[in-house]
Symmetry: C5
Subunit: 342 residues, 5 copies
């Protein structure tokens, strides 16, 4: 479920953004609480081990040196980490938006079919309606077939091709043909059928030469967008990149878990003895929160709070598209002149 | 209201930019004064609490340690904050401009209708004019319907669909149809009507085959742009990102409010005893000002000084579009040869 | 006047770039000399005030502390400033180039008119020529009208609409119509006339169906580019951003003017006593020069050395466009076969 | 082989990304293990040389000074390295994706041929099928010819033009013509043939005027994409850039191999005496891993784990394209009305 | 000459990139050796001046203070320099690739002419061939005319318009017309002629209505790309930007030449006394190498190793384009069915 908060951000005053901090869905708190808990546990175990077993032993001395070393090291690593995450997030965010922009909407294609396809009068009314309905349906079937191969949610809703039949998306005949086709072509078979149906209408001059090519181009660019979705799924961000950034963040906080230990070397005082390292926790939330931005955006068809709601999109496309081809279209309201001369 | 200052920035000399600093509308001063006031209050309260209750008590000692710790910590956090805001602002600024570029202008569509639609002579003059007027009006109704769902200002101006009627944007018949339609399709119903009207003109050969497809494509890309506005509103910048950056900035300045306290550890002198921490205030203005850039750009349809003036845009589109379809178009000035041979 | 130096940068050896440093027009020296002078004055005044009034007084002690504080502070601010300017310049530079790319060139439109418009034989020769001339002239009038509203230079050249008449751009009739039109439509009236003229040629079958739509599309995208120029002028970079960056730079160098004072705390020696702070001056040139890049690019239609030469562009477009519609076009050189078989 | 891991990244929780760290193919571990081994060897040799020959000699003293100097130097170099790699990786990553987006897919072209080319009835059925098959085959031959010149893998599969014949991609006649053509034109000869075949169908009115131009445009943009692939191969990232970044990384870790030596100057303790420098190894993995991202992306047609699988792509295109032109296309399933009224 | 190294970068292992470091053409070594030599000389002169004249004089004391001051200063400047170059290089690199992508290739235009222009049978064969040849030649003449005004190399090859005649690019008649034309239009005259020739073929119905507009559009977008090349040459990167970055780098290394002097203040030892400052040399190579990336990319039509080979491109375009219009086109190989059913 995409998390909307635009209404609340309509003015840029402080209260707005303070209020935004208290959201839970899609929030940084929801993203990092588990990791934070793990890290605090790690921190406490190290702390306790030191207090109960090492303090004032020669090993304690060694531990204190390690702590000091980690402090120096983690302060060296901090700017490196900042940039690595910074560049990574801006790369992933760019890709994420391109993916979203690649999701095709059937509207333009369906509207252009409505605009260019001629009625053949009363006696063919039902057949024409069925034909338009089939083209729209085929477009949506391709849509679902493609997203079934990239999105966890959709494959859960349509685990087998049979489910297309029960969802009234495919007839038994259609299902059989698709099941026999090679997997590479399955995605595009319904698009091919749409083209064939359109070609038929062209052959019986139900659509004009130029308009036919416009509609075909709409359909083909619809297909190309679906293809692009597959491409984004096929060629990922190189795994090395993902690993390096995640590894770097984890190492940094493992170092921090040691470096932030209040050890005897430093003069004992309130701040240093405080069991809970406030600053390290803040840093943890900021860095892991930032990293989560990238993790959420990496696979936008997954099941995170901020992932695209493909499920709702399919619903919407079905309803709206069928609406376009429905009869309402042919009965616009009577022409009235509301233009007020100024 | 968008804040214009281009005229004043036409030459890049120092005075220009010093003068720009004294603007109030849309300025950094107007953006941060409230936050700055809050922060100074926080600073003063901490300061007074320390001076009246803690100084020279054992707790004072602890407080001084905390101050020192905060100083070190906040100087560590400063570069991290710089980058986080830097990357964030450049991301939001890119998105902001894309949103602006997605706002469709009806001009091209309306002009192409004027260019391609044939007059049917005297006796149909009024009907033709009414038809062109209706197409234009429908385009604007879709525009308003879409922006009503993304912009606070527009929903205030058109709280219910009834207001479209009183604003002479919809006839009662049209209003009834729209109100009965499912919410997803409401936006596009007027566009559908425009298409139907156009189709009628094509059926009676008032427009040629190729030209008809050009006009339809203009209308469809107008619709796609409106659709994109809805998409930008539907899929926001992930909330985590917004929270991380705002949180990071707030934490930094809470730390600063403590770190900048003049405590007894440091040798007392004029600078350190100064009650008002000049530098921290500067830093506050710079960082919060920078962050405000992003907050203002995050929802460009809100009510900030720099948000897009959709309200004025609707006014402008109404006037200009009706002008295009008006009779002026058909009476160009007499042809004269002004070309001076050189 | 745009500053060209490409010829000198054709090879990337050191001497090339050393020589480039000694250019004056559009150079960093010309940009910052005035600011630098101001800053040196400020520096000297502070220096003298300290030497003549404060030295060895208790206030001198305080001043020295302030200097030390400023040193620490300004070294903290330096990386922040670097990034703020870095991100800002790269944002402005992107925008600047988009603006340049939006400036429409009439060439394609005019050439397509020439390619698609048929001659009607001898007896209409002059009328046809006048018609082509008028279309081209109208395109340029819209161009000038738009740039008159965004560029200081052009409004100086055409302060009133009357000047269009004296510059042989508009006849008296045309002028009257434009003056009576609402300001929003004035820009586009000439484009409308061009469209009307074209429509006339289509109605008398001087241009074919498909070609007519191509020419109209060229004209409309010419108009859209002009529209985009207005948009860039209407929606500026948020003022907050501009203010924050300029403010940050100014504050930094005010701090530096204090921080670089040779005060008694430091052991007196040649370097520290040198009256002119060489390094601070270098830093000043680099940072202010970098900031100037953004200031120059912010309003590319202003009057800086590097701003686009819209004035020359209008001249050029007039000459070239009239050339295209002139008779030369119809008399290509005789066909000869120069292809050498290889 | 492209490394897919999208399914595993569908939710952004910690375990997902920890699990991703244990992948081997395309992983940072696989990328850097060899370099890391080399570096550890270098480190050990220096270490042993110091312990066995230099310790407590005057040269040992000198070595210790060098170590200290390297420590200071390498901590200066670390942020520079971070940025150099950061900017470099984001540049290469942008280029890499553009290359991928330039790979043309024959689908749209083939589908548009199917949509626009008319059947000439029964008696020409085989000839028509052969013609469509030839056009598709020619498109793929151009594809393979182009990728043979940019990809190591493809040249291994098709070392000579003869191999096109054995792979049923070219007939002997076609092969002869291609072999005699100048190398520059070889790539495009098959595309030319496709165009000629299409022109023939247009001449015998098997395709309509407008549709013919649509198909030709599809073919030409297919060719342009292939051309772009050649351009990306022809004009590389400037070698200087690649060298600077690689050089900088190598120098840094040679410095580190010295700087991390536990020498006598520092007080001997557990951390400093540890033979294996943990932190330096982490840093090595992070920096080299990051650099590897760029190295892998630099030539996406090479033989790395993450390079594009052009081989499989050719297979896929062959199968799918032939499928499109096959008879299946002409037999869509019977029209059924599955639209459920809601 | 563009420097190719893609073949060597096909796998991302260490040896590949080590081997790449030993390339000379287009390498960092070739780019910076001269500057490095100069800098080492400067360094040595300062060093010797200090050793022979200043050591142990009071001036020596001053010099040592200057050295210390430079050390502090240059370590402050180092991160600033890193970013300035980083942002600058990424800006220039973006621009460089856009310039490359703007170079028009005649292929699509020529192929579309071949596809759409009808033969008029045997008796006109030669005339038709001559006509196609002339259109192609004119396109190339415009290409050369444009690049003659932006590239040093091309102006050397065609110093006067006469050279077009000797290179069989222009006939004497054509030459005379071009020489008499105003300089602004010279570039586009050949394009105009191509359009006129095409118009002739349209007038005698050798090409169909729709196809004519497609070819004209191809020609116009070819012209627009050439125009863009001129634009990139006309509006450069603001000189201030170039100067600031170069100045900053030079100042930094002048400071370094002083700061790296081994002076008596520091305790004399092997590292500090070493005459050659290894680290500073490394830093020099890295920074200047990085800067060279931008300098090479700044004017891609110059004479650097990595500049675009416009010369070879003209050759290639001539050959390939004439090939397309040659008779080969009309004789495709016989149709054969190689499709293997799978």
């Amino acid at each position: 479920m995409t998390v909307g908060y635009m209404r609340e951000a309509s003015t840029a005053n402080a209260m707005t953004f303070i209020r935004l901090l208290f959201r839970w869905n899609g929030s940084v708190w929801k993203s990092v609480w588990w990791e934070l808990l793990m890290w605090i546990q790690l921190y406490c175990w190290i702390s306790m081990f030191y207090r109960f077993f090492l303090v004032k032993t020669p090993y304690g001395r060694n531990f204190e040196e390690i702590v000091q070393h980690c402090q120096k090291t983690s302060s060296d690593l901090s700017p490196i980490l900042t940039f690595t995450i910074g560049f990574y997030v801006s790369y992933i965010a760019g890709r994420w938006w391109s993916v979203f922009m690649s999701i095709p909407w059937p509207d333009s294609t369906v509207l252009s079919i409505s605009a260019f396809l001629r009625d053949r009068g009363r006696q063919y009314k039902n057949e024409d309606r069925r034909l338009r309905g089939a083209i729209v349906r085929y477009m949506l079937v391709s849509f679902v077939l493609v997203f079934r191969s990239v999105s966890e949610k959709i494959i859960k809703r349509f685990p087998t091709l049979e489910h297309f039949h029960t969802a009234h998306l495919l007839s038994q005949d259609e299902l059989d043909i698709i099941e026999k086709a090679p997997p590479n072509r399955q995605f595009w078979l319904p698009i091919e059928w749409s083209l064939t149906l359109l070609k038929k209408t062209y052959n019986r001059r139900q659509i004009d030469e130029h308009h036919y090519s416009v509609v075909v181009n709409h359909l083909l660019s619809y297909r190309e967008n679906l293809h692009r979705i597959l491409s984004y799924d096929w060629v990922n961000v190189p795994l090395v990149y993902v690993q390096v950034v995640n590894l770097c963040t984890m190492l940094y906080f493992i170092l921090q878990a040691v470096a932030r230990q209040p050890v005897a070397v430093v003069t004992p005082n309130l701040v240093n003895n405080s069991v809970i390292p406030f600053y390290a926790i803040m840093e943890f939330i900021v860095f892991f929160g930032w990293l989560k931005v990238a993790q959420v955006m990496l696979n936008p068809f997954g099941m995170d709070d901020d992932d695209f709601e493909i499920d709702a999109l399919i619903e919407r496309n079905l309803n709206v598209s069928y609406g376009y081809v429905d009869d309402l279209f042919d009965h616009p309201p009577p022409l009235q002149d509301l233009v007020v001369k100024k």
